[in-house]
């Protein structure tokens, strides 16, 4: 009897260890890719390269954080890539051409105003998504698929498909300095990376320590129970889509600012990368589960993987295949973890009773 008990405890201990390992899998994956490329690619760990990669990853990480909240509520936001493009075009158009009023008068905005208008636009598109989903009961996939096309079309219409080539602004319109966001650095780290750090911390705090965060998880876990617990489910959903739109317009601004030009095709298929990063970071597509930290790490794994493969000279076709395999592997491991977690929880209960 004592032998079986001991065996059981040992089995439980090793299972608990395995569980911890699985929980940290995204971290482990991150270190694995970093380590692999550090060995395989010369200069990979040079500060300049790391900063450059961080800058690339940042774009996807912003979208993925917004996406994570949406997915936790049990939804999906396919429109973020298009919002990126539309935001870039709106910011570019305002800086280059101003706002031409039908009465033949042109209003010019300075860089701060342009930025705020663009962010408001992103939130607005998110609000449309939210209204379609909460008020008109359109399935999130369909609603955001619709706005994906509408927003992309609007971006193309703004310039008849052409690029706004020069966003430097002019002194007489007092709208110079747009390059700051994409080009500026603090302690040699780009502003965009700082912005990500701030946003990620804020989002993480929101998820863990505020009622709104708790409501987001509850709505995703069981919408009816959430409503019966007095949560305003529709408001929670509105928030997540607006927040996702907000994140997307930040990305649009950063890209336009980095290039000092805006192209209407900016951000195409970004939504898929954002979903991939969320899922890689442990967000459950069926809702109720996910963390901001996991998502950011997921974005870094994907970003570093693709940058590293480029530096190794792997063909872009193979890169696509590898990215897909990594995502599938992540979900398979996720399922295994969930099963094990259930078992460990059950065993804990069994042992205590």
């Amino acid at each position: 009897m004592s032998a079986t008990t001991r065996n059981r405890t040992r089995g439980a201990a090793s299972e608990a260890a395995l569980l911890t390992l699985l929980k940290l899998r995204t971290f482990i994956a991150l270190f694995a890719v970093l380590l692999a490329f550090a060995v395989l690619v010369p200069n990979f760990v040079a500060a300049a390269n790391l900063i450059l990669m961080a800058k690339h990853v940042t774009l996807n990480a912003f979208l993925a954080i917004g996406m994570t909240f949406v997915i936790i509520t049990g939804g999906i936001d396919l429109s973020v890539g298009s919002i990126v493009g539309l935001s870039a075009m709106v910011a570019g158009g305002l800086l280059m051409n101003g706002l031409v009023l039908p009465i033949g008068y042109t209003v010019w905005f300075n860089v701060l105003e342009t930025t705020l208008i663009t962010l408001a636009l992103g939130i607005g598109v998110g609000a449309i998504n939210g209204l379609l989903i909460t008020r008109l009961n359109v399935a999130p996939f369909i609603a955001t698929l619709g706005t994906l096309y509408v927003a992309r079309g609007a971006a193309l219409l703004m310039s008849e498909g052409r690029t706004f080539p020069n966003l430097a602004g002019t002194p007489e319109h007092a709208n110079q300095g747009f390059d700051l966001l994409g080009g500026g650095r603090l302690f040699n780290v780009p502003y965009s990376v700082w912005a990500l750090i701030v946003l990620a911390l804020a989002a993480s705090y929101l998820a863990r320590s505020t009622p709104l965060g708790r409501h987001i998880f509850a709505v995703g876990g069981n919408e009816r129970a959430a409503a019966l617990s007095g949560m305003r489910v529709n408001r929670v959903k509105m928030f997540v889509y607006m927040f996702s739109g907000f994140c997307a317009s930040i990305v649009g601004l950063i890209i336009a600012s980095e290039l000092m030009a805006s192209h209407p095709a900016t951000g195409e298929t970004f939504e898929l990368n954002a979903i991939a990063a969320s899922v890689l970071g442990g967000t459950s597509m069926s809702g109720g589960r996910g963390t901001v930290g996991g998502t950011v790490i997921g974005a870094f794994v994907i970003g570093i993987l693709s940058d590293g493969l480029v530096m190794m000279g792997v063909s872009s076709f193979w890169q696509t295949v590898i990215k897909g395999l990594v995502i599938i592997a992540a979900v398979v491991v996720d399922q295994a973890q969930r099963k094990l977690q259930q078992r460990v929880a059950l065993m804990q209960v069994a042992r205590a009773s």
Binding site: R214, A226, L228, L346
Partner: protein
């Protein structure tokens, strides 16, 4: 411990079942006799369901054998068990909400006409016959998700009946049925018995077991603690075998004072899609410290009435007032804020977020209490959780575990705790004892009594006569959307309640004579 009796169809011989880290069944021997109702009883977690799953091929025994007609067999899958004539009505409903009643009944063995595909008409005809046999008016073409829980249970029973099983396992088939439906089910069971079907019957309702059963097997902690013919036993014997001591009875009447009216519902009307009324001009009130029991058959409009009071039905007419102030304009969130809380009938679907932790579930509805600015103060939250767990005697290993890891009774206590943390003035409880074991039931009843003594107004809905008689200060009987009787505890008798519960369907004459009888 062998019991003399009829021919044995199936035997579980010295069966044990181990799950990771726990033994759910320990060396149990269980005989299933032909043409008889073989009752299996025990508290939640005693191993009944595991034993059933072994018979139905859902689980395989770790040790021991299954003998079918005396020959050892193995059921590696459910399909193997079904092919040997074993059917099962599961406790958790296993239905496809998006499919119709007929499609559900024939799911997996559709009637096909060669290349012309499924014979929907024949399926619906046969489903209609089964429903008629169960004396239910459920439309065979209605999607199952539109049915109430009790009706879904009938569909599940019809499905098992249609399989023409030799051995039919019923895991708590009556937990959501009304008294009248239970009667019908019992007639059907008697019918099946005559045809030689061996029935394995699991229920928490002891009187029911005594009435319907032929042989009884009691389980405790995975062990068989008693086996006998029903003739030789009574409820006290069963309870002793189940929990090893005499049961705590219904909570003793804690002396309490009944105060002012806290909640008043006036002339509530709720139309149904079909054109008639789900709630038909219902007026009632509950006072502080009072327990108002609403008894009624399934579909009598009890849950719908609670929904109206909660503000979950947009089409409802009538006025609801709390402490004298109308709350008609408020939505569910605001009503909860004002002090109404609902313990829903369906825990899994409406009461809890299964994947969230016990602690998060408890504080889910009352986060405001723990918030400073926008920040949830963990300490305050933890303290409230600890206190609630203690107050309600919830058996919890670690409040950070998912709530779905708890037993049914403890899950129910978590849902109650969640409602209590909102500081309600009125508590609406829809079938609070559904699907929980005897011990947890007694706890829930004690909690209800205690809350009433503390000055809460409680409205609870039940289809258990004994429950409504024992717990209520006043009893409202609903039938077909109407309140057909409002009885004081002293004047209430089972006969009056049962008569009133059927009155709403009958012709006017009957309800009139009944109201005379009630007033007499």
């Amino acid at each position: 411990m062998s019991v003399e009796g009829g021919e044995i169809a199936l035997t579980l011989d010295d069966v044990s079942k181990a799950y990771a880290g726990t033994l759910a069944v320990r060396q149990a021997t269980f005989h299933v006799r032909k043409g008889a109702v073989n009752v299996l009883v025990g508290e939640n977690g005693a191993g009944k369901s595991t034993l059933m799953k072994i018979i139905a091929g859902v689980e395989q025994p770790t040790l021991g054998r299954i003998l079918l007609d005396g020959k050892p067999v193995r059921f590696p899958t459910v399909a193997d068990a079904v092919s040997q004539g074993i059917g099962m009505v599961f406790q958790e409903l296993n239905l496809f909400g998006n499919l119709s009643v007929a499609e559900n009944i024939f799911a997996g063995r559709e009637l096909v006409r060669g290349p012309r595909g499924i014979d929907h008409r024949e399926q619906q005809r046969r489903a209609g016959e089964l429903m008629a046999r169960l004396q239910s008016r459920i439309d065979p073409s209605a999607p199952v998700e539109d049915l109430r829980v009790g009706q879904q249970q009938l569909v599940e029973i019809a499905k098992a009946m249609s399989q023409k099983a030799r051995i039919l396992i019923m895991d708590e088939p009556t937990s959501a049925l009304s008294a009248a439906e239970v009667e019908v089910l019992f007639r059907v069971i008697a019918d099946l018995k005559r045809q030689g079907v061996a029935i394995v019957y699991i229920s928490h309702r002891l009187e029911e077991l005594i009435r319907i059963g032929d042989y009884i097997t009691v389980l405790r902690d995975g062990r068989v603690t008693g086996q006998d013919t029903i003739r030789n036993v009574d409820t006290h014997w069963i309870v002793r075998q189940m929990i090893g001591r005499d049961a705590k009875d219904f909570a003793k009447d804690v002396g309490h004072r009944i105060g002012e009216i806290v909640l008043k519902a006036d002339n509530i009307v709720l139309p149904r899609m079909t054109g008639d009324l789900a709630v038909d001009h219902v007026s009632l009130d509950v006072r502080a410290g009072e327990v108002l029991g609403i008894y009624g058959l399934m579909g009598a409009g009890r849950s719908e009435l609670l929904d109206c009071i909660m503000g979950r039905q947009r089409l409802a007419a009538g006025t609801v007032s709390l402490c004298g102030k109308s709350i008609n304009e408020l939505d569910t969130t605001d009503r909860i804020g004002r002090g109404i809380a609902l313990i829903p009938e369906d825990r899994q679907r409406e009461g809890q977020v299964g994947i969230m932790s016990i602690a998060e579930n408890l504080t889910m509805a009352s986060l405001k209490r723990f918030v400073r600015g926008i920040h949830i103060v963990r300490r305050a939250e933890r303290d409230a959780v600890t206190e609630t767990v203690k107050d309600l005697t919830i058996k919890v290993v670690d409040p950070r575990l998912p709530v779905s890891s708890l037993s049914g009774g403890n899950q129910q206590k978590v849902v109650i705790g969640k409602a209590l943390l909102t500081g309600p003035k009125v508590l609406l409880m829809d079938e609070p004892s559904r699907g929980i074991d005897v011990g947890a039931k007694a706890d829930v009843f004690r909690i209800m009594r205690k809350l009433a003594a503390e000055g809460l107004g409680i409205i609870f809905v039940t289809s258990d006569l004994e429950e409504v008689m024992a717990l209520s200060d006043r009893i409202a009987v609903m039938s077909n959307g109407k309140v057909t009787a409002m009885l004081d505890r002293k004047e209430a008798t089972e006969a009056k309640i049962v008569a009133a519960a059927a009155a709403g369907h009958g012709p006017a004459r009957v309800s009139q004579s009944l109201s005379e009888e009630v007033s007499a």
